[in-house]
């Protein structure tokens, strides 16, 4: 086969796998930003913090990073509940979300990042499971397990979340709170309790995304910054609150970024994220698959 074509095909396949990671990172945001209208810009920072803790737990207990991430999702759920309780009490209740609430999440993001630098030092951390060095080959196309395993975990987690949102009463209530919180109150469901739960879930997803991130690449405290553009671009492209849209947008985004990286060099990939974000905001703010809100 032609060399460029092989490069392109490989770029697309590993872009799809990378898209799995982005989907994991953006799905939590689709819940908090898309459904609850909470602009959690600290989400990528929480994910990176999750990655660091996964390295810590995985090394201490000798666990697989993906398994450690699943365990970590539980305390992260409660962390999310705590953050939402604080946010609701001080900002949402007073109607101060726009300025003070945003500044609050920016402060949280900043505290996490500086805290990680102070706690772990600025250098990169990694935890390689044994399968990270195995690569399957199908014809000319490489499928590294380092990318495949996190992508599969991400898909499983998002699938479970989707089922939960569609089938269970609480899940339906979360979808309902996104549409009309007051109407939910009339059905004798407390919207604040539902939002607290949903925000907890979104932060729990950040822990899983952090575990996936650790398998794919080493993490450093500032990794979150690059992800802000990516996850918000994916989330908005996917039509905000829609999980299937989020997955599709993540795949598309991963492919575009990866093909750019393989043809023009990886140092340009953050610019791709921003370019996409601006383009989407300027041309189709309702997202590629979304309806106008």
């Amino acid at each position: 086969m032609d060399g460029d074509l092989v490069l392109l095909l490989n770029g697309i396949v590993s872009g799809l796998l990378l898209g799995g990671l982005y989907a994991a990172a953006a799905a939590g945001l689709a819940v908090s930003f898309g459904m609850l209208d909470i602009v959690n810009i600290a989400h990528p920072a929480l994910m990176v913090a999750g990655g660091f803790l996964v390295v810590l737990i995985g090394t201490a207990l000798g666990l697989d990073p993906l398994l450690a991430a699943l365990l970590l999702a539980v305390p992260f759920y409660f962390l999310g509940v705590a953050i939402y309780t604080f946010y609701h009490h001080f900002f949402e209740r007073r109607g101060d979300e726009a300025l003070q609430g945003l500044a609050f999440f920016f402060g949280v993001m900043f505290i996490i990042e500086v805290g990680l630098v102070m706690g772990f030092g600025p250098e990169q951390r990694f935890l390689d499971p044994p399968y990270a060095f195995i690569t399957w080959r199908i014809g000319e196309i490489d499928i590294p397990l380092r990318m495949l395993a996190p992508a599969l975990l991400a898909m499983a987690a998002i699938g479970a979340l989707w089922l939960f949102l569609r089938r269970s009463f609480t899940g339906l209530a979360i979808s309902a709170v996104a549409q009309d919180a007051e109407a939910l109150r009339l059905m004798a469901v407390d919207p604040v309790r539902i939002k607290r739960l949903a925000f907890g879930l979104s932060v729990g997803l950040a822990a899983i995304a952090g575990g996936a991130l650790v398998v794919v690449q080493p993490v450093e405290p500032s990794s979150g910054q690059v992800f802000i553009g990516r996850v918000f671009a994916v989330c908005i492209m996917g039509g905000m609150g829609s999980l299937p849209g989020c997955i599709l947008a993540a795949f598309l985004f991963g492919v575009v970024e990866n093909v750019t990286a393989s043809f023009y060099g990886p140092s340009w990939s953050p610019a791709v994220a921003f370019g996409w974000l601006l383009l989407v905001l300027a041309v189709r703010p309702q997202g590629l698959f979304g309806k106008l809100a």
Binding site: V39, I111, V114
Partner: protein, 327 residues
């Protein structure tokens, strides 16, 4: 003073204070002169160094306040705008050999265009999208600078600064004076914005954008003016940075410290008034200068982060708001 006789309670008071331009400018220049004379009497170069550090934050915080405080649109990209200014100054010097003052003018132009461009693409949507875009803007500008070898790429750029400039005893003194003038101008501009129709329009946007639009406030145009002004002032704050430190790399120029301080200072001082950012910048700036000397710099950023979170939660109107309620 004709407005004062009207029965409307708060508005005439504001209008009356708005006319007192001369006392403000005299006062501001007086304070600046006093500051300069005092530092000159002390005659220590560290005084200028620390003074510059605080004054650059006065400019940065005031710039943030024009858009964030008056209009309620949060700009997270202060570091990006500031670095854009700094690298404009570096590029201009490399290309033409022009010095600090033309560099500041060029930085203002670049910053204004950058703000206008980002604003034009995102300001028609909800304010959140603008904030997210500015957050990414810093990351992307950093990518561009790292890949731009002409200004040193990731290795950074050196600027050999002159030993001294004619009437001043040291270059540090000259830089301090330049920043002092910029700070007075920035605060003056912010105050002028606050008391003119532009500021009233921005405040209307902050309180209820739809209602403002409905009564005929040209919201998009006002927001674009504010974004351009904000971007220009932030870039101006960054332009002397390479001269100040003598060496600049992307990591230093795009430091998160600028982004967090630009938000924390106005919010802690009291956003939406010209005095708030000044109070916040002087307070937090001197605190950080003291902490950098005595403790580590990572820890003092950590403290700023916590102060920001605690202040926006407990005192959402900042220090100034505190006084107002007590009165």
């Amino acid at each position: 003073m004709s407005g004062a006789s009207l029965p409307l309670a708060p508005a005439p008071a504001m209008a009356a204070s708005g006319r007192r331009h001369l006392p403000f400018w005299l006062g501001a220049v007086g304070v600046a002169v006093l500051l300069f004379v005092a530092l000159r009497a002390i005659g220590n170069d560290y005084g200028y160094f620390a003074g510059y550090f605080i004054l650059q934050y006065v400019v940065l915080a005031t710039a943030w306040n024009i858009l964030g405080g008056y209009a309620g649109y949060v700009n997270f990209g202060a570091a990006g705008f500031m670095a854009a200014g700094a690298y404009t100054a570096i590029a201009l010097r490399k290309a033409t050999g022009l010095d600090l003052l033309p560099g500041i003018a060029a930085a203002a132009t670049v910053g204004a265009l950058l703000g206008l461009g980002t604003g034009y693409l995102t300001l028609r949507l909800r304010g959140v999208y603008f904030s997210i875009a500015t957050l990414c803007l810093a990351v992307v500008l950093q990518t561009l600078v790292v890949n731009w070898d002409y200004v040193g790429g990731s290795r950074g750029a050196y600027i050999v600064r002159p030993r001294e400039v004619a009437p001043f005893t040291s270059y540090g003194e000259y830089l301090f004076l330049v920043m002092l003038v910029l700070a007075v101008l920035a605060v003056g501009i912010a105050r002028t914005v606050e008391v003119t129709r532009l500021g009233r329009g921005l405040q209307a946007i902050r309180d209820n954008e739809r209602a403002a639009e409905a009564v005929g406030v040209p919201t998009l145009r006002l927001k674009l003016i504010a974004t351009a002004l904000c971007g220009a002032l932030m870039a101006v704050a960054g332009a002397p940075l390479p001269y100040y430190s003598g060496y600049l790399n992307p990591e230093g120029a795009f430091s998160l410290a600028y982004a967090v301080n630009a938000i924390a200072m106005p919010l802690i001082g009291g956003a939406g008034t010209w005095a708030g950012p000044v109070i916040g910048a002087v307070l937090l700036g001197s605190l950080q200068q003291a902490a950098t000397v005595t403790i580590s710099s990572a820890l003092n950023l950590f403290i700023v982060g916590w102060m920001l979170v605690i202040f926006v939660a407990v005192a959402p109107r900042g220090i100034l708001g505190w006084f107002r309620r007590r009165r």
